[in-house]
């Protein structure tokens, strides 16, 4: 099944990816070829088989006590931030 340009624009928007005008045809082609490739799965007989999310699904997810174990490292972690002020991450205005 080939994807259209509109399909790719919609997917790119959902994924918050900027695809330039030049790049668009290349992505339409390569994504179509990937989707066609994985379409082979539709021919598999999977009947009543339960989906398997990961290899450990026979085990229960481990729980831990509801206790504080981390300490405040905000300054260290924010050292990599593009824009920080008073411990807050600065981004373009969201609400007018």
């Amino acid at each position: 099944m080939n994807l259209t340009r509109q399909d790719v624009e919609k997917i790119a928007h959902l994924a918050r990816l900027n695809i330039t005008e030049q790049e668009m045809p290349v992505y339409v082609t390569s994504l179509s070829s990937i989707v066609n490739f994985v379409d082979e799965l539709s021919r598999a007989e999977t009947g009543a088989v339960l989906p398997m999310a990961h290899p450990l699904d026979a085990q229960h997810q481990r729980l831990r006590a509801d206790a504080v174990t981390e300490s405040d490292n905000r300054e260290k972690y924010q050292a990599n931030a593009p824009a920080v002020q008073a411990g807050l991450y600065i981004v373009p205005r969201v609400i007018e």
Partner: protein, 485 residues
């Protein structure tokens, strides 16, 4: 020469006082300076830190400490967070990212006394089979620098093969340790899912990713794996089961070992590749093993299954890279949406964007059942096939790759051609099984690997089978021309 010694031999020389960690470290740093430019295997070299760590290791030894990795240098794939050192994941998105903490793998190897020389180049965000998608340029295969070393742990493999370090760390999501190990003539180990902590290892596909080791031999890999493996409370998928003494199990006899020949691996296998595996089987039979034919009927669906599951998981994992808290941010964003879209559009390369978009598509409304849920069902069928096979045999054997290393640039135009390089390795990731690739010969002067896959937590037996093969053969002792001195 120091770079031709095994980890065990280096350890003995250190214990006997014949050399020091500082001397060994200087030696490898010298090799890196001289030999890495032609390979582009490394992204960041940490020479000063390495010398400080080496001096600290020598001081620990003088204070009476021992331990097989004390003072031994290594190179970490640039996917492991290393405190205070750039951790780029091969991407422009993290080119400016200085990790504020160590991954558990890094901490454990540090505690064991290793000395980090550098961070290895890799396919961007671990997505690739040739190390051609890195923001820092392709890695060259030391056996022929016009050829790829494989990927995504291409830098780790090239560095191990060129003896820029006694061993390197890597990660394997669809074959990214085993495939480059095969193409560069080194031994690569992907442990069972949950055996080694993923804390601090930048996530690509969380149900598939696993950290492992690339080294010159199974004997060396066993020493490293013992230090890396074990329960970590900081990784919610870490399994709490004791780590066996891998080194002690290496010499065990193979009499009675049942090795399964996977029909689906041998169907249509190129003749010279098949011949190498059959030669290896003769060695195994001479060591007392028996071979049994087995079939995993759903295995041919493993590549399409993976290329639904892995992109889906990566589209979720890579959504954290938004230009807000760390990583690349575009200039003059006009609003929040523009910030996200351009930061991500600029920060990620084409393959990463392709996989994020594939994942977004298969998870989107209207397609989730047909693709993602369907792939998860096929994943269970593949896993059940492996389980049924392991009821009849102890290990599975087959090739690691369909061909030897291909030319840089040969496969970049069609993603599917590139994806099919993982055809033999992907099944083990889907089922969470451990696998090892060992050098087993050459085609056209380029190394080829044989692959052993075992049931969950069978690393002892895998390493034992790998080691016994390596005591009866010498493929793993060979190295690329030009790197002997």
């Amino acid at each position: 020469m120091l770079h031709n010694l095994s980890i065990g031999e280096l350890g003995r020389a250190l214990r006997a006082g014949k050399t020091s960690s500082v001397e060994i470290t200087r030696h490898f740093l010298g090799r890196i300076e001289r030999l890495n430019p032609a390979l582009n295997a490394l992204i960041t070299v940490t020479a000063e830190r390495a010398l400080a760590a080496a001096a600290a290791a020598d001081a620990r030894r003088a204070a009476g400490e021992q331990g097989p990795l004390l003072g031994i240098p290594l190179i970490h794939k640039d996917i492991f967070c290393t405190d205070g050192v750039r951790t780029s994941c091969g991407s422009r998105m993290l080119d400016n990212f200085i990790a504020p903490y160590d991954a558990t793998v890094v901490t454990r190897l540090k505690d064991a006394g290793t000395v980090m020389l550098a961070k290895a180049n890799m396919d961007e965000f671990a997505m690739g089979s040739s190390n051609e998608t890195s923001f820092y340029g392709p890695v060259k295969n030391p056996w022929d620098t016009a050829k790829v070393p494989g990927g995504s742990s291409g830098g780790s493999a090239a560095a191990a093969a060129a003896r820029l370090a006694p061993f390197t760390t890597g990660t394997d999501t669809g074959g990214s340790i085993r495939q480059p190990a095969a193409l560069t003539g080194v031994t690569g180990v992907k442990p069972t899912y949950g055996r080694v902590s993923r804390y601090g290892m930048i996530a690509f596909a969380s149900s598939l990713d696993q950290a492992g080791v690339l080294a010159r031999s199974a004997e060396d890999a066993a020493i490293v794996l013992a230090a890396m493996a074990g329960f970590d409370p900081k990784d919610s998928t870490s399994i709490d089961t004791p780590v066996p003494d891998y080194s002690a199990a290496l010499e065990g006899p193979l009499a009675g070992l049942k090795i399964g020949l996977l029909r689906e691996f041998f169907d249509g296998l190129e003749a010279r590749n098949a011949a190498l595996i059959h030669d290896a089987l003769k060695v195994y039979k001479s060591l007392g093993a028996q071979t049994v034919e087995v079939s995993l009927p759903h295995l041919p669906l493993s590549v399409p299954t993976y290329y639904v599951v892995a992109p889906a998981e990566c589209s979720s994992n890579l959504s954290r890279f938004d230009g807000v808290r760390f990583g690349h941010r575009c200039e003059h964003p006009k609003d929040l949406l523009d910030l996200y879209k351009r930061s991500r559009g600029e920060g990620f390369g084409a393959e990463v964007k392709r996989r994020i978009m594939t994942g977004t598509y298969v998870l989107s409304a209207g397609y989730f059942d047909a693709y993602y849920l369907k792939a998860q069902k096929v994943r269970r069928l593949i896993t059940d096939d492996f389980r049924a096979a392991f009821a009849q045999v102890d290990l599975l054997i087959g090739p690691t790759t369909p061909t030897p290393a291909f030319a840089i640039g040969a496969k970049v135009d069609d993603p599917i051609t590139m994806y099919l390089n993982d055809i033999y390795t992907i099944g083990a990731n889907l089922a969470g099984l451990p696998g090892v690739s060992l050098p087993c010969g050459f085609i056209d002067g380029l190394p080829m690997g044989l692959q052993l896959i075992g049931p969950h937590f069978s690393e002892s037996r895998l390493l034992n089978a790998a080691h016994r093969y390596q005591t009866a053969t010498e493929w793993h002792m060979q190295g690329p021309r030009g790197y002997e001195q």
